[in-house]
């Protein structure tokens, strides 16, 4: 396995935080260091996802939501536009969302276009045919 990092530095909550990409075979895991995916970082979140989707167009993407306690409409929209701009060719999975985040994802019926898994490992074990996009 080759480890690759695409850190984006942002000054948030008086400390620097960065989205990180971690390679796992043909999958890229996006790690989210902040507790809140809110409107103050929606643009950064979208740009990070777009850059990732463009730079390695064949990988699957797993977004690790385990530490995220809050997701608002702007970051939900960031996720969806990034997904849309790849022409729905990319398979995206959302791993380990907390209850509050899951409620927002469910309100948007997001499983129609992406997979949701209970754990990160489940996402990494998903077979291509179970990734909902394009299916």
């Amino acid at each position: 396995d080759i480890l690759r990092f695409y850190p984006i530095y942002i000054n948030l909550k008086d400390m620097r935080m960065t989205f990180t990409n971690r390679q796992y075979g043909r999958r890229t895991i996006v790690e989210i260091p902040m507790k809140d995916l809110d409107s103050s970082i929606a643009t950064l979140f979208k740009n990070h996802l777009l850059e990732l989707l463009e730079s390695s167009p064949d990988d699957m993407v797993v977004i690790d939501l385990e530490n995220v306690r809050f997701l608002d409409s702007t970051c939900l929209g960031a996720l969806l536009t990034a997904f849309r701009q790849t022409g729905s060719k990319r398979k995206v999975a959302l791993a380990a969302p907390q209850t509050a985040v899951l409620e927002v994802l469910n309100a948007a019926r997001i499983t129609r276009v992406m997979a949701i898994t209970r754990t990160l490992n489940e996402a990494l074990c998903l077979l291509p045919e179970h990734w909902l996009a394009d299916s």
Binding site: K46, D72, S73, L80, F83, A100
Partner: protein, 165 residues
Amino acid sequence: MSHRVSLGIDSRVESVRFLRAAIRGLCDEAEVPASLISRVELCVAEAVCNAIEHAYARQTDRKIWVNWVRHDDTLAIRISDCGQSMATDLFAMARDIRLEVDPDDPCSLRGRGRGLALIHAFMTAVDYTSADGLNHLDMRLAIPQSPQSLPSCGEDADSPSSGTP
């Protein structure tokens, strides 16, 4: 008995997480079930972000007020600004905005335009009014009564538990 707390912030997105934290604290103290607290938190954040972005066009030195009232069976929250009002028909339309994504409809994968729809989805009633240069978004959430808030000390006094520790 009703309980009321009012809150205010400057119109900066960086302040919204503090407002959310205060709302969480208030709802927790008011024994709002945890599953509803996260909805309230989201809806307050969406409404406040709308005021910052649309009513104030991202000016950061304006004020936003949140009036939080716990009644016995409902939570009533009013978000107020003194910026640009929203057209009444725009607000009425928001009720019908589809939240659900549809793989065959690229428009359903849009980046914006889900805030009011989420508020409608999660709150029991939502209203928007403007008067005297102030705009108010009112949301109400029905709160199920918890069993422990029913009187119970009559029982306690009648049926003493076995005494010594």
